[in-house]
């Protein structure tokens, strides 16, 4: 079917879309790279001289950088761990036939529809607030000191909030994967003498591996750039205890008005994302091969 002529026509027709997409990606990237080599601070109007790698040097030697890097990885890793394990268990639960299944499934998915800022504010003010929060009330009810989540364990609290948001996504994908498991395979395993736990680990978990890979890859993309939850809960603090790379870039370019330094941070974030992506594809990418 694909003659020389039709191939040429096809290329011509997809060209506009490809060109627009390329511009969409290339222009901001090139501008960011360009800005990252300038001394470009909005508080110092006038020249924007070329300074080479100076911005990168500042960014890497910033005492907050290492913390932010570690925080970013902890945030991604922590949320992935909670959502994958919790999602699998929830999916297992929701896969059981029960009364009101449809309603329960809908409710489980609900957190995903709540905007990040809103859910973070709800968590901050209604649950984790050490005076008025629900957790504080519960703590007082059983007679223990309320725990000030966001002040004492800011990063863990943010991980909890973000994991709560992403749990439905993982659950949903893993649930559909679980439902596509051939029931005869489970029965065969049952005949073969596998107990419930063995069936779960030898049959269900391998079957879920592909779906889990998709969940991990998609979530990683979004989790590397978590921002709203940090802004509305801790604003990166106390100190820089809950600052991740995205938030650090925000501090430098928008709070300190340093476009050059912010751009350098952005480029570092892109590189980090790619390193994480390479590792992920190495580790779990083979699951996606048919």
């Amino acid at each position: 079917m694909a003659t020389q002529h039709s191939k040429a026509a096809a290329r011509l027709m997809i060209a506009p879309a490809v060109i627009v997409l390329l511009l969409w990606m290339i222009v901001p990237l090139v501008l960011t790279l360009y800005f990252s080599t300038l001394r470009y601070n909005l508080l110092m109007p006038g020249g924007t001289p070329f300074v080479g790698m100076e911005n990168y040097q500042y960014f890497f030697t910033d005492p907050a950088f290492t913390t932010a890097l570690v925080n970013t990885l902890l945030l991604v890793g922590g949320v992935l761990l909670i959502t994958i394990i919790g999602g699998t268990l929830l999916a297992l639960l929701l896969d059981q036939p029960m009364f009101g299944q449809g309603i329960v499934r809908l409710l489980v998915i609900a957190p995903f529809f709540v905007m990040p800022t809103v859910s973070a504010l709800v968590w901050k003010n209604m649950f984790m607030n050490p005076v008025n929060g629900l957790f504080a009330h519960l703590a007082r009810l059983i007679g223990i000191q309320p725990f000030d989540f966001l002040a004492v364990a800011p990063l863990a609290s943010i991980i909890l909030i973000v994991a709560w948001q992403w749990l439905p996504f993982a659950t949903l994908i893993l649930l559909t994967a679980m439902q596509s498991l051939d029931s005869e395979q489970i029965e065969a395993a049952e005949m073969d003498g596998a107990g419930a736990l063995s069936r779960f680990f030898y049959i269900v978990v391998p079957h879920l591996s592909r779906a889990a890979t998709v969940v991990i890859l998609i979530q990683t993309i979004f989790l590397l750039s978590i921002f709203a939850e940090i802004l509305v809960t801790t604003a990166g603090g106390p100190g820089v205890a809950s600052t991740n790379l995205t938030y650090l870039v925000y501090i430098q370019s928008l709070l300190q008005f340093d476009v050059g330094l912010g751009s350098a941070g952005g480029v570092v974030a892109i590189i980090l994302a790619n390193i994480v992506a390479i590792f992920l594809m190495r580790m779990i990418g083979k699951n996606l091969d048919a």
């Binding site: 051939d182 395979q185 029965e187 073969d192 003498g193 596998a194 063995s198 049959i203 079957h207």
Partner: protein, 334 residues
């Protein structure tokens, strides 16, 4: 050892009774085939024996020991599923080893049994492949291998050949029969294909709507079907069933005569008609004869090279001793 006894076994799904109480004994070493049209409850019956479904009433015994409440794994039975149900993420070797791993069989014993099963089933070259890389017939053999290594009291087959093409089906049929001769283990086999039932079984159980219509050896069922349903179901092509005056003349409501028990001639005979379709198989020829005044079509089997064709006028003579007579309720008149 593998003697399976069903006493008053009954199964309902909600209000729907799928299997009314039935009794059945499967002797040790027997090859028993459950056959019937789709939806007759034959698979359900097999799953009851396997323990994959709970009985609603009655008692199942395996080797005399009550097994009604035992979980599937404890019954000592192995099952081959219609979809083969191989574990796609495991190699053939691991698939076959899985039941032994679950039973905590020692490593070297596992290895020995895998080797011998692979050898017996021609799988030696494929042990390290995944099921996805195998053909249908090979997957089928892996599924059988996985059943063999457990050294079960009985094998249960749930329509194992229905996903294979015709040529492979004939081959696998032979292989399963040979396996049965070699192992001399009880086998229970479910199929809707009466040819499979006839060729493989020691004992056929014909089922309809959960009822056992007749139990017997293939030739018993062929020679003396107890009722119209069995008469029509066993045998290929189907028995000709004729009612009306011709049946009444012989003191029956319906008479049945198999295609191979009617002689065809161009000169004389009891009945006459016109050949509609002629199916030339080489060894045999099947004629569908119309306008006989007996039934819409009368099928007859004739010699492969008889030289009659569409539109020819023929005379038919049934073998008088091969005519089956049935009463109004469809039961055989002895």
């Amino acid at each position: 050892m593998g003697r399976i006894t069903l006493e008053n076994v009954q199964k309902s799904f909600g209000d729907v009774e799928v299997i009314p109480p039935l009794d059945l004994t499967i002797e040790d070493g027997e090859f028993v085939v459950f056959v019937g049209p789709s939806g007759c409850g034959k698979s359900t019956l097999l799953r009851l024996i396997a323990g994959l479904e709970d009985v609603s009433g009655g008692e199942i015994r395996i080797d005399g020991k009550p097994a009604t409440d035992l979980p599937p794994a404890k019954r000592g039975l192995a099952m081959v599923f219609q979809s083969y149900a191989l574990y796609p993420h495991m190699s053939v070797r691991k698939n076959i080893a899985f039941p032994m791993k679950m039973a905590k069989v020692p490593e070297d014993e596992q290895k020995r049994r895998i080797e011998s099963a692979a050898h017996a089933l021609n799988l030696t070259d494929y042990l390290d492949r995944r099921p996805g890389q195998l053909s249908g017939g090979q997957r089928q053999r892996v599924a059988i291998g996985r059943a063999i290594v457990r050294e079960p009291a009985a094998f249960l087959f749930d329509e194992p050949l229905s996903n294979l093409d015709a040529a492979l089906r004939v081959g696998m049929r032979l292989e399963i029969s040979e396996l049965h001769t070699r192992l001399a283990t009880t086998m229970v086999y479910v199929t809707h294909d009466q040819v499979e039932a006839m060729t493989m079984a020691d004992k056929i159980v014909v089922l309809r709507a959960g009822h056992i219509e007749q139990v017997g050896s293939p030739l018993e069922l062929y020679r003396s079907p107890r009722n119209l349903f069995v008469a029509g179901f066993i045998g290929s092509p189907k028995m000709n069933l004729i009612d009306g005056p011709e049946a009444a003349r012989r003191g029956a409501h319906t008479i049945g005569i198999r295609p191979e028990h009617i002689d065809v001639s161009t000169e004389e005979g009891v009945w006459h008609g016109t050949i509609g379709v002629a199916e030339h198989l080489g060894s045999d020829t099947f004629f569908h004869v119309h306008e006989t005044g007996l039934a819409e079509t009368v099928t007859i089997r004739a010699d492969g090279e008889i030289g009659l064709h569409h539109g020819d006028r023929v005379y038919l003579t049934p073998h008088p001793d091969k005519i089956h007579r049935f009463d109004e309720g469809g039961l055989l008149i002895a």
